[in-house]
Symmetry: T
């Protein structure tokens, strides 16, 4: 099916830029949701239960935006790709270690990952400023959510 069956409301060049931004964000968020689950199962130590629960809230937030971002891509005529191979090749997130992790190591890794994703999202907000304000609005909402989460994870390192 070579030609897109979905007509875009955007001009071709705007669609290309916006679609690229959405596809990059989709890949990162899927990776984030799997990393957070991985951490959820492997965290150990004195603060175990509190961190275990907070990670599931992060999974829920990531999954919610995975869906909204992918459906926004479809809505502008871009076929979203969220298969595991695509994620492995394109995710911008730092790697997460294997095996059991202490609560401290878990927190540090999550804080670093969120910081990187927030930095990228702010760049993408700029990129969409000229190409599609509707998509930008969605990214602003997502960024507000992740920055709030970032504060809550950092607060535990103080």
């Amino acid at each position: 099916m070579a030609k897109s069956p979905i007509k875009s409301p955007l001009a071709d060049s705007d669609k290309a830029v916006t679609g690229g931004v959405l596809q990059s964000t989709l890949v990162d968020l899927i990776d984030l949701s799997l990393i957070a689950k991985q951490a959820h199962w492997n965290v150990v130590g004195p603060n175990f239960r509190s961190v275990h629960l907070q990670l599931d809230e992060l999974v829920a937030a990531a999954r919610k935006y995975v869906d909204e971002v992918a459906e926004r891509a479809s809505a502008i005529g871009i076929s979203p790709t969220g298969k595991t191979t695509t994620v492995v090749e394109n995710s911008s997130l730092p790697a997460y270690p294997e095996g059991w992790q202490s609560a401290e190591a878990t927190i540090a890794a999550i804080v670093e990952i969120l910081a990187e994703e927030i930095r990228l999202l702010r760049e993408r907000i700029d990129e969409t400023d000229k190409t599609d304000l509707v998509t930008q609005d969605l990214l602003l909402e997502l960024t507000q959510e992740l920055e709030k989460a970032h504060w809550m994870w950092q607060a535990q390192q103080a």
Copy 2:
């Protein structure tokens, strides 16, 4: 953290076999949940809405067992691994195509993928018969769920 901090209720050899089964199943189910989402976003054609909704039920079922299977691994002292790289290297599921797909092609691919996973699960049920009945019970329940889904997807090909 070389040594597992979780004491297993199983003898060492039983734990190794059971852990292997759980880890394989975990990887397949994560792959299944991402494939079903991919299909959910990319399906097009007259039956679009019905297939779109049915795929989200499959995502929900897969995610539910992803969690139960991983936590069962933790409970017997095995650190579960569900990171994207692990999934790409170890998933037993057939590949799913990129881009927009017709409803028929979507249904055919899902039916094939479910058939393969059910075949593997029935082998794993046999493997756990001697090593851990608690894990076997979890796999029986998962198999009943996937076989029911399998029927419902096949029914549309008749």
Copy 3:
């Protein structure tokens, strides 16, 4: 439509035995649901209200397993049959009397019917031990439910 459009995960002989067990159970459960409704409308006497309500709980339980048993049959490639003529010709349950019934007579009839169905279910659990563990698991759950109901109905005869 001579050939089944649903591919079975079971070998042919296992499928035949398992399908027979499911079809027999389906017929009995439909009969049970109609008998319990009949009793619900025709019971009279001092304990009327308590028995009237308890019968509706039995209807709900029977209807729940009617659906699960029929869909399990579909899932292994057997077309389930639950039409009234099939039920009349194949139900294993003792007959229930016509017209208004005292609470005592109602209780006695229900206790006898449940006892017979439980006896049959335990035979069917044995039959499926070699053919399909997934179906056996479903029958075990159903038997636990009916045996609990059986106790509660007997308790009123003491």
Copy 4:
């Protein structure tokens, strides 16, 4: 228990006519609920899921009026009979075929069955006009429900 323990608010001849109408309707509705379940499990083909769900809505509607009609019979002093043998001997509905059915065949059969039941209900509404307005009111409500369902099933044949 030869004599009815429930005193009727109706005169004897009105009670006989009204009771006959209610008993006929009860038998048809039980048959309808079982036919719709049978169809629910055996439908196959491209429109499978949509028809599968719509049939369960028909089951729910039929079951709701099964109860209201039977309890109305009890309320006017008539013992309702809804046992399978009674249904087989007295149902006015056309027979439904065995085995897997295509979506088209399923729709055609349901449309025909509903048309016949609606025709009968309109005769019964006339019969109760002189004998019991309360029962007539219940039949009007039931007819409105089935005629709406009838339209929705026909709409798929256009």
Copy 5:
């Protein structure tokens, strides 16, 4: 405030007849709701709890129609009167005894009271046939409810 501030949709004579029927029914239903509460608090004996609960269902039904009947009177321009003195002077219901009552005596009294009210309602349904079909429709619904309750109370005397 001598003149009614609410304009009636009915002609004057139809309004007078319909208003009289609604006012009589209102008074009876208030009395019924207080009698049922009285019985609810004073019943004693082996079947205490079952009768105690069933009486509260009767209170709820009576209260629901108290409101609908009074608001229907307002809607046709008749000021409804439901004060205790009005109820004492105009209620058509048989008296209910004071003090603790056995379950049997309670049931017998409620059966008798319901029979009398049903008889009166059927007369009122005839009276409104020529004056206001909308009000008649409301009385039909109320009668169906009370006749069902009547059966359930009688059923305990069998």
Copy 6:
């Protein structure tokens, strides 16, 4: 699509009369729902909030019957028309003024509009008495609802 794809349960002349009644009622109710929204947004004055909320209850009631009336038309084989041009050409309701309105003016206009619609509905109830009792039953229920609303709006003018 010249011929109706939906077979009517009514004879041709009964269908024509009943269909006309339903189509007229549909048009009036859509108009009523838009007028009530218009009033909801434009009311000002000391009683603003109370009237603002009460208007939304009227919108909800009108919308509920818009759907039931249109689907009843479909059920008897008449294609319902609820497009704005049809509403403008056929609505029987008095016009509602533009711009901000005081609470008093709002109440007076709504009372007048409801009075007119109730008068028309009572004529339509008579028309359907010989052609379709099922439709008549629906109009009785709708009239009861609007007459109750009519009282509540008048009560504020006293």
Copy 7:
């Protein structure tokens, strides 16, 4: 049934005093609930809707304590009496006028009635100080509720 079947936890004289207080309060609260309903149906004027709704909150509060007070009487071995004749003969509340009432007149009457009941309740709180602290606690809670309502009704007269 001359002798009370319920053994009292109180000494005879304490039981007599406490029982008298509860019976008086029961009668007043039933009267209050009927007066508030009467007002709810008959209020007219610009503030109609707000007063109409507030009266139903008063009905709900009165009914809740009707039940708690009567069941407290039963709990200390006193048969509660709440029949209409008892209420007419024993209620301490001022009479409420017949027919349609303006919002102002309605508010004034309710304020006066609440003031009188609160005065009586404070006397009854004193009476139970020596006889039953559990009953006193219930009256304190009821008084807090009615005094709050009293403020809210007075606030509209300012």
Copy 8:
């Protein structure tokens, strides 16, 4: 009432432009909600049920923004007008055909109508960029919703 009783937070010229945009959008959305209902009642053909349900989701979305857009107009001191005559004279949407429609024709018409409304909304977003950012934010949210719906309707044409 010549002068607006609501003081605007905007300067006069900004208020005029923003108010015009909101009034145009209000009229289109009311038209859209009626068209979608019209289609909901008149669609026929094999995919009937799926399209019938999807149209009701479009009605719900349209109604939600009807209210938000009208209340935003009120909030900036503009009296919103949503009466049927205003809608007929000012709606920008293409006409929708009368009578029963096949599922394909229904889908094609809805896709075309949504495309036109989205085009207009993007122009209006530009117009409000200089006059009121709060209103622009509301239009962005509405556009995201309609573009997502547009994709889902197009997906069925592939």
Copy 9:
């Protein structure tokens, strides 16, 4: 941990008396909750279902106050003890028989146990009058609950 880590708001002697009362009540309530469960499982006979359900309401009430009483003890600096050995050595409740019990025997035993506990609670209310009014208030509420339950159990013996 010899010294209490929780600072008491009470003087030492008041704390000792109040703590003793709370500890005694805690032990009795745990015993009551286990006795009621024991009875719930072992009751048989015609009234089985009604008594079975009523016992679970008693369990729920007992468990609710177990928690409130223990946490009140903690709040005043007393470590509560609710271990089985403590309960066996200190419970004031009469013993409950082993094995299946008829409904009558069950009721009689529960009535006796509640009477004894109520007697003790009234003594404890007096004891706390000088030491802690907050605790006394909690006991008053508990006593009201148990006395109401006591009436309902006695009512079945009449």
Copy 10:
């Protein structure tokens, strides 16, 4: 508005004392709710999340009693004052520090603040013993709530 529009159920001197107690408590509880929010936003450190959540429970409890205490004041004819200037001038609570705080410091401050408020409440309970038992009852309930919270905050310091 010099004279109170709300008539007090209390004698003048009792009203003065009770009103003073309620006004003091109102001011303290508003302060407590703002302090707990301040702490909720500024806490940092290893136990961050647990303390962050527990503080919001304290906010909820404080806000609930803010409302009940203020409405009790209104109910006895005292105009409650909860404006920020009043709170600053009259609050009895110790000051809370500015800026980020460690979890330990947060806990210590909250424990000290609660201890002081509990001490004051116990004095106020004594003051109202002679002036208004209804108000005293409200204070007892509030004290029980705060003492339970106090224990839970202290428990973390052990």
Copy 11:
């Protein structure tokens, strides 16, 4: 704790401006929530109930944004301050009078306070245009909410 433990995603000067805007808004919203509560308790007069309820909706809206604004400050590394002394010294809102207030005076004061806050918010929206779009988006949403409330309060003055 001199240095902020939360790393800001903003450059230092952007952080300073944005932080100032958020702190000012936080202080105003806390003041608004307390003023609205004060008004809620002290309003009297014929429209009492309607205004009393509308004020609680304003409290709820204010409290919701208090939390979101404070947590946004934390998220960009600014410690929010919401203590009463800070509010008294920094709130931009006009003062609210002490004691009982008529409904008219209450409405006038709230309208004036909202107008002032809206004016300030529109300035702050401009200030954040260059420093943080995420914060600006939050302020746009808050302004839409307050402008809608402003209209509803003004509508009562017309």
Copy 12:
């Protein structure tokens, strides 16, 4: 009542073994529920709140299986015994210490108790393999639940 009023579905020797297993499990689970409550009230220290909440989840899990296990015993004709004396004499669980306990000591004790109960349950699963598969299925489910809890408690010791 020497003879069991409940007929067993099992042969005598199977019933004896299965009944023994259920009775042992019942006793252990009651003990576990009381120990977890004891720990819930007496835990102190830095992690107080987290452990306090997690213990209540353990209480809920234990209570759920107390009921299912006891009702399973009744269902096979064995009278279950859960009285405190029986628990003290037969519980297999290690003793739990008196008085306040640190979070670490609490965790260690719970981990040890769960390990012992899991070891016993696995033996009982073997015992029931030959006597009653239905009971075994219930034990498998219980074991899965406790092993998951065991992991979560251990994770905090890592």
